[in-house]
């Protein structure tokens, strides 16, 4: 759907993007994360066609949009709905009027415009606020209106730069829900820039980690959490605390990552039963990535066939990250 190829951009000789390559599959949500100054906003501004990259391409449905001008540029902008960072609503227009702006730009006639605005207010759950002015809305409501505006002209791509940075956790949830609905109900491809791993945890299918203008990690969130050395797994999975006293009473101690209902629910009891070992969870915990339960547990095992049990867990779909006690490299 959207492909970024070898994008570079520098400001007065200072490099902000240093050959960024990414792709987002149609109908999925990509989270772009990374430390401050990594180039996230610069990337977002290039994709939003507010900044022209020095080199490289940004393709939407195969067409490079980086070198367009005039009306072709404006048409391409309509293909990409943008939720800018911070307050971006017209304060002299109602919520409905703000949502109508892209439709006016696209020359959609009045009656159709009103119907479409109604649909979008419904999508973001703010039908009762149609006539409210931005100053009468809360920060989260304003941000949802901004999402509705970005979606008004039926873009194929939705781009949001730090859509939740100024919001409290509860309001953040309502904005993320709206982004998720946009993907689920309208099928748009979403690119969200954030410094908050919680956003990745809740709505992202894929993640790209940016550092000093380069992509240092890019892939499916559920794949990356299985990779013990990935930054994504260390940021998203529950921490396993070191507890040597507890661990000393076991023959084997290992960390294991389990993804999905079946794995989290059944794998460990099954392993204990099959191999006749004592298997306890001595650390770690359970979390949720989108709808998927994901666990990282530190296991303590006692019994002759402990290694076989760990091996079996690995083969059955769990990722045994490391064996802390006993032979190393039992991992699948």
């Amino acid at each position: 759907m959207i492909t970024v190829e070898n994008l570079t951009k520098s400001f007065q000789g200072v490099s902000a993007l240093n050959g960024v390559t990414l792709d987002v599959e149609a109908g999925t949500v990509l989270g772009v994360v990374g430390p401050s100054g990594a180039g996230k906003s610069t990337l977002a501004r290039c994709v939003a066609l507010l900044e022209r990259p020095d080199s490289g391409a940004i393709r939407v449905d195969g067409t490079d949009i980086t070198s367009l001008d005039g009306s072709a540029l404006r048409a391409a902008r309509r293909q990409i709905g943008v939720v800018p960072q911070g307050d971006s609503l017209l304060r002299q227009r109602t919520a409905a009027g703000n949502i109508a702006l892209p439709l006016e730009s696209a020359g959609v006639p009045g009656p159709q415009r009103r119907t479409r605005v109604g649909e979008l207010l419904d999508l973001v759950g703010l039908t009762d606020k149609a006539a409210a002015y931005p100053d009468q809305l809360s920060g989260g409501q304003r941000q949802r209106i901004a999402v509705a505006r970005a979606l008004a002209a039926n873009p194929s791509v939705l781009l949001a730069d730090e859509p939740t940075s100024a919001l409290d956790p509860e309001t953040t949830g309502s904005v993320l829900t709206v982004l998720d609905r946009a993907r689920a109900e309208l099928g748009v491809t979403v690119l969200v820039v954030t410094h908050d791993m919680g956003v990745v945890r809740k709505i992202c299918d894929d993640v790209a980690v940016l550092e000093q203008g380069r992509v240092v990690e890019h892939g499916k969130v559920l794949d990356l959490v299985n990779n013990p050395v990935s930054r994504t797994s260390s940021a998203l999975l529950p921490a396993v605390d070191l507890n040597p006293i507890n661990e000393s009473s076991y023959d084997r101690v290992a960390d294991v990552v389990l993804v999905g209902f079946a794995a989290v629910g059944a794998l460990l009891p099954e392993a204990a039963h099959r191999f006749g070992v004592e298997l306890n969870i001595v650390g770690g915990g359970l979390t949720r990535l989108g709808e998927t339960p994901v666990a990282r547990f530190r296991l303590g095992l006692n019994g002759e066939r402990s290694d076989s049990a760990l091996e079996w867990i690995g083969e059955a779909g769990g990722a045994v990250q490391r064996s802390l006690k006993g032979p190393q490299g039992v991992a699948a």
Partner: protein, 227 residues
């Protein structure tokens, strides 16, 4: 000791002079707005960070604007008298004063407008850009509409300033309230006319100022208590 001018005559003087002032100021405000707003928009469009940044055009436009603004009105008035004579067919009368008033006010309005437009937040403008809006659409629906209350106030400030300038119109026989106060009141030691005119000017400018403030507020949708 000359007897004071009868109140009925004072009122007649005031009515006539008020008509002249409102005519001069009204027409020149309309002209200055029609030409000054585009100048302000152009200044802002070409400014650094504007929608169509162009340093060369901006610098030239700024220079001309600031030159116009720093010119004392009395100098402009005299200098433009000959031009005025060509345009309105005579250099005497209220109509003749409109040209220098308008010319003097255009750069004034232009700078005010640019300052006001530059206050519209860059995120708001960029959000509009990303909707695929044309520059014209952004100027109308974002820059101007978002700052309409401030723009209305700026026109009010212009009207008050032009009432002040129009007082000098007496120099070329323009008439009006300032002229009445100076020629009939001050120079002829007619205190009644002088102070009546001063009081009336105070009332008039206050009412005008208030009217513009009200209008500005009526167009402002920020921080209204409820829907």
């Amino acid at each position: 000791m000359r007897s004071a001018t009868p109140w009925s005559d004072v009122i007649a003087y005031l009515v006539e002079a008020t008509g002249e002032t409102l005519y001069m100021v009204g027409v020149s405000t309309v002209i200055a707005t029609l030409l000054g707003v585009p100048v302000g928009v152009w200044l802002q469009l070409t400014a650094k960070g504007g929608l169509r940044p162009n340093a060369a055009v901006h610098r030239i436009l700024s220079f001309v604007t600031d030159l116009g603004r720093s010119m004392p009105f009395i100098v402009l008035l005299v200098a433009l008298t000959s031009v005025t004579r060509l345009i309105v067919g005579g250099s005497i009368g209220s109509t003749a004063v409109i040209v220098p008033l308008a010319v003097g006010a255009i750069p004034f309005v232009g700078r005010l407008v640019q300052n006001i437009l530059s206050e519209v937040h860059v995120t708001v403008v960029e959000a509009a850009i990303t909707t695929g809006a044309s520059t014209l659409k952004i100027v109308k629906s974002v820059l101007i509409r978002e700052s309409l209350p401030a723009l209305i106030n700026a026109i009010g400030v212009t009207v008050i300033a032009l009432i002040g300038y129009s007082a000098m119109a007496g120099v070329i026989g323009g008439g009006g309230l300032g002229d009445l106060a100076i020629r009939e009141g001050y120079q002829r030691f007619n205190d009644r006319i002088l102070w009546s005119t001063v009081a009336w000017l105070a009332v008039l400018t206050t009412v005008i100022q208030l009217g513009f403030t009200r209008a500005a507020r009526a167009f402002d949708r920020r921080r209204h208590a409820s829907v």
